[in-house]
């Protein structure tokens, strides 16, 4: 019962946060100079004043800002994200088309990062001063420090141009026709480089964290007890130590989810991955307010949900949290 009440309370807070995100961004983007009519004029190669006025009137841009905000919030309450100024079609349709590529990219990157990060961290923790541990530290630092677009371009040049193993861009091949398993394979082939690029940044953090966490746990009394009972190294590490060491990783994974989505923006741009990040980036440049706000609204929703899932899995993994530490 407590858990359900907890979920609803968190969802309530999440909703307030999402509205806050939308209002703040609405005000921020409207504070920027220029408006969508200028962008459309630019795209058209110049338009008349009357056409500019018509565009502004059509999208309600000639009304006072508080009125525009009020209308927008009222529409949001009815789950109506409005029409894209640029693409002249419902924002929900654009987001519906783009959200799954982003979710696929982010989740794959997250799984790769956590899995490889933990494996590297665990292996490094067994000999904290050994060469592998040193390698993990260097790799982590470089992976974290290198700009995403650079890592992405280097991977493309290496694995798409010099050794043409993977495609350069897109989520599926432009020439591909068909569906089902063949399509899934085509997407998986396209996913390898972008997911790896995105994973490399976060992998570094998980590797360092799990290494530190494992070193600490491996020195704990219950691990010594387990070893004293005559348990093999495998069960000691994976059953006793890792389960405890993984808690901080779960916390970080939840926190990092938002960062993953923002990292996805750059990865999507470099790899031409048709996700929400690219849509958001283009929408800023195009002053396409409804699309940008729609993306931010959905992205903040995803982050709220991801954090909730993290908290719940935390409660699942550690009974002390469920019982409030009693």
């Amino acid at each position: 019962m407590g858990t359900i009440r907890y979920i609803f309370r968190r969802l309530g807070y999440g909703l307030i946060l999402m509205v806050g995100v939308v209002v703040l961004n609405f005000l921020l983007i409207h504070a920027a100079p220029g408006d969508p009519a200028e962008v459309i004029a630019g795209e058209m190669g110049g338009i008349t004043e009357q056409m500019m006025a018509d565009i502004r009137a059509r999208y309600g841009l000639d009304r006072p800002l508080p009125v525009q905000l009020g209308i927008y919030l009222a529409n949001i309450a009815r789950f109506d994200l409005g029409m894209s100024y640029y693409f002249d079609r419902p924002v929900s349709q654009l987001i519906g088309q783009r959200i799954w590529p982003t979710v696929l990219l982010v989740l794959t990157a997250q799984v790769i990062a956590i899995f490889l990060g933990v494996v590297m961290g665990v292996l490094a923790s067994r000999r904290p001063n050994g060469p592998f541990s040193g390698f993990v530290s260097v790799f982590s630092t470089v992976g974290y420090a290198a700009p995403v677009f650079w890592t992405g371009l280097m991977l493309i040049i290496l694995f798409s141009v010099i050794v043409p193993m993977f495609p350069v861009e897109g989520m599926s091949s432009a020439r591909f026709r068909g569906g089902g398993f063949a399509y899934a394979l085509n997407v998986a082939h396209h996913l390898v480089l972008p997911a790896t690029t995105l994973a490399i940044i976060f992998l570094a953090q998980y590797a360092r964290l799990s290494r530190a966490s494992m070193i600490e746990v491996l020195g704990a009394d219950y691990v010594r007890t387990a070893r004293a009972k005559g348990l093999g190294e495998g069960p000691v590490i994976f059953r006793h130590a890792l389960r405890n060491a993984v808690l901080p990783i779960l916390t970080v994974a939840g926190i990092q989810f938002g960062n993953l989505i923002s990292g996805a923006l750059l990865v999507e741009t470099v790899f031409n991955w048709p996700g929400m990040g690219r849509l958001a980036f283009d929408s800023v440049l195009r002053r396409d307010y409804p699309t940008l706000l729609g993306v931010l609204f959905c992205a903040s929703g995803v982050v709220v949900l991801a954090n909730l899932v993290t908290d719940l899995s935390y409660r699942l993994a550690d009974p002390r949290i469920r019982t409030g530490g009693r």
């Binding site: 100079p33 630019g42 795209e43 110049g46 371009l153 350069v168 091949s173 432009a174 048709p274 440049l285």
Partner: protein
Amino acid sequence: MKLTRRILFGAVASAMALGLAPGMLAAEPRQGGELVIISTQAPRHLNPAVQSGIATGVPGTQIFASLLRYDDEWNPQPYLAESWEWADDGLSLTVNLVQNAVFHDGEPITSSDVAFSIMTIKANHPFQTMFAPVEEVETPDDHTAIFRLSHPHPALLLALSSALSPIIPEHVYGDGQDVANHPANNEPVGSGPFRLVEFRPGEQITLERFDDFFIEGRPYLDRMIIRIVRDPSTLVLAMEAGEADMLPYFSESQGIRRLEGVSGLDFTTRGYEGIGALNWLAFNTRREPLDDVRVRQAIAYAVDRDFIINALHRGTSEPQRGPIIESSPFFNPEIEAYDLDVDRANALLDEAGHERGSDGNRFTLTIDYIPGTAEQQQNVAEYIRSQLRRVGIDVDVRAAPDFPTWAGRVSSGDFDLTMDLVFNWGDPVIGVHRTYLSSNIRPVIWSNTQGYANERVDALLDEAAQEVDAERRTALYAEFQEIIADEVPIYFLNVLPYHTFHDDRLSNIPVSIWGAMQSMDEVYWSEDR
């Protein structure tokens, strides 16, 4: 003066229409295959009747046919119009349509659709000068349309070509909804060689051969895919890896030099004469000290166009000396070029009364540029800053984070100098007059934002807009170009170095004046890819 012209629809004329090199006619075109085009440009929608620009123009001209098309030497050729004839007084144009043309839903294309399309374009297209003199389009029968004009309008034929005048179905767009926002703009029922299969905004447009296209045996390709890739580096790598077959409108010099060396790829710089993309430095002639022609001339003499082309653009772009693209028959090669002459620049500034101060500076100016195209805009602005310092002009380069910011500054007249990138759009009436007519000093970009006014220029442009004699019209534009060169409201730098890279097994690459913004029904694979 010959006002009457009649061209019969035939195979030779049709081949010429496409701007084919003579040698290409020998090979037998092959049917089939698909073409993947990549582009950074994401179209808003696919209806060029209410949306100008390359992004909509490339897919739009595959989906919609126009009455005419142009060859690579600025000659109109038949397309949906099999012949046309001017009245002796130049006040009407009779167009005869091909008999067998149908829209993609099977409905016949009639003169009524032509009249509807032209009036829709007149009411909604940003280039208002294209059809301003067209009072009505009469439709005496299903295959004849008569354009009635308020005054002679020699630009009309060009305005009836390519992306400027798609023939759209009245039975779809005439349902009373606003055409500018019509749902069919995203799912068009077209009249051209390819029909739409799927349009994923910002991602990909998939087209397939329209089997009932009115030109027998065309198009040769079965499918055409336009893939949108926003990042130029990715674009180059995708081309290099063979993931796409054609990259038109590519102007980034480092990428050009890289792709030139890739085996299996070929390229052409032809096909961009119609669009006439000019890169220039504009002066706000309403502001001191730029209201003094000597100051503008001095700045022009202080900037080295050759350095910009050879160093900043790695020799990929062509020089441009005047307001009309140098490859146009209207260009006047006699005008002053303003080649680098620092001494003359200093002398002109002294003469204008701007002595150097104790710090060596005469005065300070700002320079803006369009963000996003660093090589053509920002780098040139930075170079101009360093160059003008040599003649005692201190320049602040003002960055703009994005296009609307720059557009807001320029349209409101809040600038001294600005880099700009403006298209000629074929006939001077469409893309050139707007920059110089004093009646077009308006708070919107790509109007006369320089605030330049000269009565003689106004008179010359008004006369040229109505002059049907080609020779006389050329002479009027020649004088106009001389005045602009003398008064320098703009210092012209270069033509944008647009290149079309393509798989070398592709034949009949579009090289007419409209390039990829004209039907690609003639493109074919000479061997399997």
